[in-house]
């Protein structure tokens, strides 16, 4: 314990030192040694092929305050670094969709700013996946409606599903395009009936911070360091090492490791025709595993890191919190203790009142139980239907991160009838299961969905609509939320859950929860 505490203090000091010595972004005091950000300094946008140093620590402004990004490997020269360099044919780099200012994801605000700044010429808007369909007219906002309105990138999934595991895929369902507002799924060139049958779904870029947590196998909850909680099949293995892996990185869990994900993204989003080289893969993986981030300053509450602040807040927290640890018990709560802020209102100022609200929100997150019901690939994994838990003791139980320790994509209903927020702009699929297949556990053999999710990988009816839960860090930097961007704000996110699970949050509880989440 002593060593660990010392480690936290050391890292905290390191972070503070780094913040003092290295580049702090435009709104901060410029240090004499600050690197040249001349090509990226007018706004927070980091362009590919920028000649710059990625600092050991930097903060970036957002509407709720500032996010801090720690690079525990120290500053790096991004010239020719495969995360930052244009290595494919479309002018993008990894950083295009994983912007430091956006928690290494991509906010809708940033996307719109980029459209305005470049009149839609930025490689981000490449027609292949940055348009609703590649055959849409170039340069028109309407051709990019899903990206400009909901931050969605087109993902073309092969139909029938291509095997991502060694075993062949036994596809248990047929799929029909009921509605095709983008025109892509019925396109003779790009759609399900094309020469290379493809199903287009639309998803948000996931944040590339705290990846070290996402790849850590769970500790202390054996046998689930080797077995999926859900179906007690063995965990997937890394095809390169043969070691068990988590598979938390992508919405449908197809990219099992940072290297897998990088290969997939380079091919499908960067237009790279050749395989990534070993040195490129190593550089990307190493960079991603040393990035940590969280909100560092709240615009109302002030600094989130340092003495007197909850230990689970601030960018140093993800660096120091033990990885792969269950946080749903009385001793370890997911984001730790907030009691030091409970009496904040006694200060009589706005910051104190805000802190008290955050502490109440944490308590709601930790304690308020509700019926979690009819969640496909979740309630049916042995939990029972319904299952009565709080946010923290249910799906968001990993210490310091808030994703699920028993990870498995699940169908919360964010993109599936009848639970989803109404979305006339997304394709709608009718998925019909074979009579001999085990159907979706709560919707039966016929499911209407905007995104079949994990089922497009496994071919299983039980996985229809299933999407991997997400870490809860950097929420203020990367709206909108859910894989299909259907919650524009944290208010809409909370409202969805309140409606979906009939929780009955009071207005005050909603406000407190939102304030809590914006500090993460």
């Amino acid at each position: 314990m002593e060593v660990t505490r010392l480690g936290r203090v050391t890292a905290l000091l390191t972070g503070i030192l780094a913040a003092t010595l290295s580049h702090v972004h435009a709104s901060e005091v410029q240090q004499p040694s600050a690197p040249d950000y001349s090509t990226a300094a007018t706004d927070d946008w980091w362009s590919p092929d920028t000649t710059a140093t990625f600092p050991a620590y930097a903060e970036y402004a957002n509407t709720a305050g500032r996010i801090g990004i720690i690079n525990t490997g120290g500053e790096i020269d991004t010239r020719n670094h495969p995360f930052f360099a244009v290595i494919g044919s479309n002018g993008r780099a990894c950083v295009t969709c994983h912007q430091p200012s956006d928690g290494m994801s991509l906010s809708l605000e940033t996307i719109r700013e980029r459209w305005a700044a470049t009149l839609g010429k930025d490689p981000l808007f490449d027609a292949f996946d940055g348009a609703d369909c590649p055959d849409k007219p170039a340069g028109e906002e309407s051709s990019h409606s899903l990206l400009l309105n909901h931050g969605l990138i087109r993902i073309g999934m092969p139909w029938p599903p291509a095997p991502y595991a060694p075993d062949p895929v036994d596809v248990e369902f047929d799929i029909e395009v009921v509605r095709d507002p983008t025109g892509c799924n019925l396109s003779p060139t790009w759609g399900i009936n094309s020469a290379t049958p493809t199903i287009s779904v639309y998803r948000r870029p996931r944040p590339v911070i705290n990846i070290a947590h996402m790849v850590e196998l769970p500790h202390g909850v054996g046998p689930h360091d080797k077995f999926f909680y859900a179906d007690k099949n063995l965990l997937h293995t890394d095809p390169e090492t043969g070691e068990f892996v988590q598979g938390l990185l992508m919405a449908d869990a197809r990219g099992l490791t940072p290297r897998n994900q990088a290969r997939d993204a380079a091919k499908n989003h960067l237009g790279l025709e050749r395989p990534l080289s070993e040195s490129e893969l190593q550089a990307i993986e190493q960079f991603e595993l040393q990035l940590f981030g969280a909100q560092s300053v709240d615009a109302i509450g002030g600094p989130l890191d340092g003495p007197g602040t909850p230990p689970g807040l601030g960018p140093n927290a993800p660096v120091n919190v033990p990885r792969g640890t269950l946080g749903n018990n009385p001793v370890n709560r997911v984001f730790g203790d907030f009691s030091m802020w409970t009496d904040g209102e006694q200060s009589g100022d706005e910051a104190g009142a805000f802190k008290a609200s955050v502490a109440r929100g944490a308590d709601v997150f930790y304690r308020k139980r509700f019926y979690i019901n009819d969640v496909g690939a979740y309630n049916d994994k042995g939990l029972g239907n319904p299952f009565k838990r709080s946010c923290a003791s249910g799906c968001h139980n990993t210490l310091g991160m808030g994703m699920d320790m028993g990870p498995f994509p699940m169908d919360l209903g964010t993109g599936t009838y009848p639970w989803q927020n109404t979305r006339d702009d997304l394709p709608l699929f009718k998925v019909t299961c074979r009579p001999d297949a085990i159907p979706h556990s709560y919707l039966g053999p016929v499911v209407y969905t905007h995104d079949p999710g994990r089922a497009l990988i496994t071919g299983r009816c039980r996985d229809i609509g299933a999407i991997m839960t997400q870490q809860m860090r950097a929420l203020s930097a990367r709206a909108p939320y859910f894989s299909n961007g259907s919650a524009a704000t944290l208010q809409e996110l909370v409202d969805f859950y309140d409606r979906r699970f009939n929780i009955g949050y009071s207005d005050q509880e909603k406000t407190d929860l939102i304030n809590f989440m914006r500090t993460l």
Binding site: M1, T4, R5, R8, H219, G220, G222, P223, H224, K226, F227, Y229, D231, K232, N233, L234, T237, P310, P311, G312, A317, N320, V321, P322, T325, G327, N329, P330, V331, N332, R333, F335, G336, D337, S339, M340, R369, Y371, N373, D374, N379, D380, G382, L383, G384, N385, P386, F387, K388, R389, L399, G400, I438, P439, H440, S441, Y442, L443, G444, P445
Partner: protein, 277 residues
């Protein structure tokens, strides 16, 4: 129809075994969920032939927890003098049947008459972690460090006793190949020991029918035993055994149901024949 049976020690050994009436239950039902308090999980019950039964069997089996929108197959032996959820408890297994049945959707709100138990004792003054809460007051970072003490869990997992280190019996839900978490842990231990030996591991896989109290017979689908064997083989190899070590025997016919622990016939027997044995 319940099946009261009297088991008598047939071998007439020197130890006298008192006769006892045992009640076996085998039925399919819609579970009703009962809210048993704001701080605890729900429980499930069903009324059957004039009795109320708690629908979670004694012990922790993580594949049979009842689900609304599904019927539940209940197979077991009633445990006298134990109740939970307002119903009698039983040893045995439950299986959630896969077909969605929207008729199974009954909630019983909390009424203060039946109050559930905490799975984890959360009292801050619990002696096992009182010191931790004390420490948090001066050092809040304790709250995000690994738990320094074992948490006081009310009901520990009960290990079954019908296996030893060289034999393991794995039971399955009806018509499924899913194993449970306790068994998964045992398989890790089993393989850890067997993989360092050149001896054989024999997989014997069975499928079975269940005789319900209403005389209906539920038969597992053809090929279920083979499916279980294939999955088990994959798990054992994935945990470190070589395929050469494995020998598989599949009983393709359903074992006839008798209405007495028919769930025990849906099984795989793993036997490790050590090289030096």
């Amino acid at each position: 129809m319940r099946r009261p049976l009297t088991l008598v020690c047939a071998a007439l050994l020197t130890i006298a075994v008192p006769a006892s009436a045992q009640t076996y239950i085998n039925f399919v039902t819609c579970p009703t969920v009962r809210d048993v308090g704001p701080e605890v999980d729900v429980c499930f019950y069903a009324d059957y032939q004039g009795e109320t039964y708690d629908l979670v069997p004694v012990g922790v089996i993580d594949w049979g927890k009842p689900e609304l929108r599904h019927q539940l197959l209940v197979e077991g032996e009633v445990v006298e003098d134990q109740t939970y959820c307002g119903g009698r408890r039983f040893n045995g297994r439950t299986t959630v049947l896969p077909t969605v049945d929207h008729r199974c959707n009954d909630y019983m709100p909390f009424n203060n008459a039946i109050v559930g138990e905490q799975r984890i004792d959360k009292r801050a003054d619990h002696p096992k972690y009182k010191a931790v809460f004390e420490a948090m007051r001066t050092d809040p970072s304790v709250s995000i460090q690994p738990a320094p003490v074992g948490l006081p869990v009310a009901s520990a997992i009960k290990q079954t006793s019908d296996d030893d280190e060289r034999q393991l019996i794995v039971y399955f839900p009806f018509d499924r190949d899913r194993i449970d978490g306790v068994t998964a842990g045992k398989l890790i231990k089993f393989v850890d020991e067997a993989k360092h030996d050149s001896g054989k591991v024999i997989i014997r896989s069975y499928q079975a029918e269940t005789l319900l109290d209403n005389s209906e017979r539920l038969a597992e689908k053809t090929g279920m035993a083979a499916q279980r064997a294939t999955k088990m083989k994959r798990i054992l190899v994935g945990l470190g055994l070589s395929e050469d070590q494995l020998s598989t025997h599949v009983e393709v016919e359903n074992i006839p149901g008798k209405g007495i622990h028919d769930w025990k016939n849906r099984r795989i027997e793993l036997t490790w024949e050590a090289s030096g044995a």
